[in-house]
């Protein structure tokens, strides 16, 4: 069971997830401090340790629109948050997979802050409302990176094979 700790709408931009003024901070160890910095209350909850790992951010369409800043994925990953959205903007989607942030594609999700969700491989159940929603699988090219533990180990293996020759 995982709690919905933040409910957002369409077109959540990477500026909303990780404001540009913090872009000089790049390391995944440091970016979580600025996660949703402009949602001051939520950001404080994160920093005060009031959000359990595995908690869920729910949004509608085109989550992660905008900039390619990887901080937007690494800051969410740093708090071990899970994102459930109808669909994702391409660059954010790739970044999330690359850095190991868990994304769930759920085109019809209905959930409010405080609801409890339960994940199965092909569906998510809102235990609060009792309704279940179909999850779309990641495309095989992204799943391969998830299975390797992220893009860094995925590429490391290729580099070792190719440079060893």
């Amino acid at each position: 069971m995982a709690e919905v700790v933040l409910r957002l709408g369409d077109d959540v931009s990477t500026d909303a997830i990780y404001p540009g003024r913090f872009m000089a901070t790049v390391l995944p160890t440091e970016t979580p401090q600025n996660c949703f910095a402009d949602l001051a209350e939520f950001n404080k909850k994160l920093r005060d340790g009031q959000v359990a790992p595995g908690s869920v951010v729910v949004a509608d369409r085109n989550f992660g629109t905008g900039s390619s800043r990887e901080q937007a994925a690494s800051c969410l990953k740093g708090w071990d948050l899970v994102v459930v959205a109808n669909n994702y903007s391409r660059i954010f989607f790739q970044n999330a997979v690359n850095v190991g942030l868990r994304l769930v594609i759920c085109p019809t999700i209905e959930a409010a802050e405080g609801d409890e969700l339960e994940f199965a491989p092909d569906a998510v159940t809102n235990k609060t409302s009792g309704k279940s929603y179909v999850i779309e699988a990641l495309p095989p090219a992204r799943q391969a990176i998830v299975d390797a533990g992220g893009l860094v180990p995925y590429v490391r293996k290729k580099v070792m094979e190719e440079r060893a020759r």
Binding site: D11, R21, I91, N95, P139, R156, V159
Partner: protein, 430 residues
């Protein structure tokens, strides 16, 4: 079945006779670009090599471009330290296409790539910046990615796990009326198809109005294609592309255009006649919140911004200077001008545009991304409103979540600078 421009370029780069939509390929990369975020790319490259007992080396230092533009000159010690680390990396790896904070070579990465002839038709260009889609304007396949994806390119010389995208053909016919330009067209298109209308797809631009458009205008189309989610916004190369590369980017080696097959398959065809197109404005806080300028007339503006990789080129400065020459920016409104590169700055100086703008009250800033993304220079106060020629108006974009940003062309921005309110350039201002 024939291939689109994107398919042809990816097939060539992947060493395949043909590719089709959804196929997963590993295209060789001709140019890999990054800016200050190279600090993270370097970190990720180190991680890739960690434990391999191999020396950390990029695949080909001649195919890597690094340009400082996001925070120039550095606004904090942290940024300055990142830039220092990147300079050391550039020297250690022998990277030649490096553009430091210098008035003889610097500027915004996307302008630097274009004006130095680093991008050619048919290339695969990868950039750790979403607006890398800009370079489709030169007939290339140009893809924005995050830092870890770029570090993979630095290590391998190719992209991995690329799904060949479908293309949307946008046919733009008719002739622009006076006061209407490429910026109005791309805003109109984004408003029509939405911020996700081209997500995971390529836009391929065709039609008479695009063929007659200067490369500067085409760069606007490519630049903002990503605001509809597009992987790239391609204008197939033609005589104008070759003219630009030869005359303005000083390219001397052979240029080979990549054109779509007559029977290429498009996911969708969108036809636009610009003859009736009016000046457009994107209202806060999404780029697809687009209306004709008339619907926003009279909105009070605290800050006018002309610049960015979208509209900071010479023609934009020329347009603004023509409006403001001998006149004044309205009291109570401030105006900032960020030329897209130092080459443009120098040319605008020579032609008198900078003096015209400064005499009118505009502050001429150093070339760079400036206030576009709210990092430094020109932040907005609480409740303030900006009208900018930049590409994004997200909440918080210009450094303050309690401020608002409207987007428009350089002409609309200049006309509005005279009045201090959003002004239809066909009526007021000039």
């Amino acid at each position: 079945m024939g291939m689109t421009v994107a398919e042809k370029i990816l097939a060539r780069a992947a060493g395949l006779p043909r590719v089709s939509v959804g196929e997963v390929v590993e295209p060789a990369v001709d140019l890999a670009m990054s800016h200050e975020n190279s600090a993270l790319v370097i970190n990720q490259l180190d991680q890739i090599f960690e434990g391999t007992e191999l020396e950390t080396r990029v695949w080909d230092p001649s195919k890597i471009a690094i340009i400082f533009d996001h925070r120039v000159p550095a606004e904090t010690a942290k940024t300055a330290t990142n830039q220092k680390k990147i300079r050391e990396f550039v020297a250690a790896q022998g990277i030649t296409k490096f553009h430091d904070i210098r008035a003889d070579e610097g500027g915004i990465c996307h302008q630097i790539l274009a004006e130095n002839g680093y991008v050619r038709p048919g290339m695969v260009v990868v950039g750790a910046d979403s607006h890398t889609s800009t370079h489709g304007a030169l007939g290339a396949m140009a893809i924005g990615v995050g830092a870890t994806d770029l570090s993979a390119v630095w290590a391998l010389g190719r992209m991995v796990n690329v799904e060949v995208p479908a293309s949307i053909k946008v046919v733009v016919d008719g002739e622009f009326r006076p006061a209407v330009s490429a910026k109005d067209l791309i805003l109109y298109l984004i408003g029509m198809i939405s911020a996700e209308g081209a997500n995971f797809r390529v836009i391929e631009f065709h039609g008479r109005a695009v063929r007659h458009m200067s490369t500067s205008g085409r760069l606007v189309l490519g630049n903002m294609s990503v605001e509809a989610g597009a992987t790239c916004g391609i204008v197939p190369a033609d005589d104008e592309t070759i003219r630009y590369l030869r005359e303005e980017a000083c390219v001397t080696d052979p240029i080979v255009s990549v054109l779509p097959d007559a029977d290429a398959e498009y996911e969708e065809v969108i036809e636009i006649d610009v003859t009736r197109l009016e000046p457009q404005v994107a209202k806060p806080h999404t780029v697809d919140n687009v209306v004709p300028v008339g619907e926003t007339e009279g909105v009070r503006i605290d800050q006018i911004v002309i610049g960015s990789c979208t509209n900071g080129r010479l023609d934009d400065l020329e347009t603004a200077a023509a409006v403001l020459r001998g006149r004044k920016v309205a009291r109570g409104t401030r105006m900032l001008v960020f030329p897209a590169s130092w080459r443009i700055w120098a040319e605008a100086l020579r032609k008198g545009y900078l003096a015209d703008l400064a005499s009118a009250g505009a502050v001429i800033m150093n070339p760079g991304c400036g206030c576009c993304l709210g990092i430094h220079q020109g932040a907005l106060g609480d409740g303030e409103v900006a009208l900018a020629t930049t590409n994004r108006n997200f909440k918080g974009r210009m450094g303050n979540p309690n401020a608002s940003v409207y987007l428009a062309s350089a002409l609309t921005a200049a006309a509005s600078a005279l009045t201090g309110v959003i002004t239809d350039p066909r009526k007021g201002g000039s």
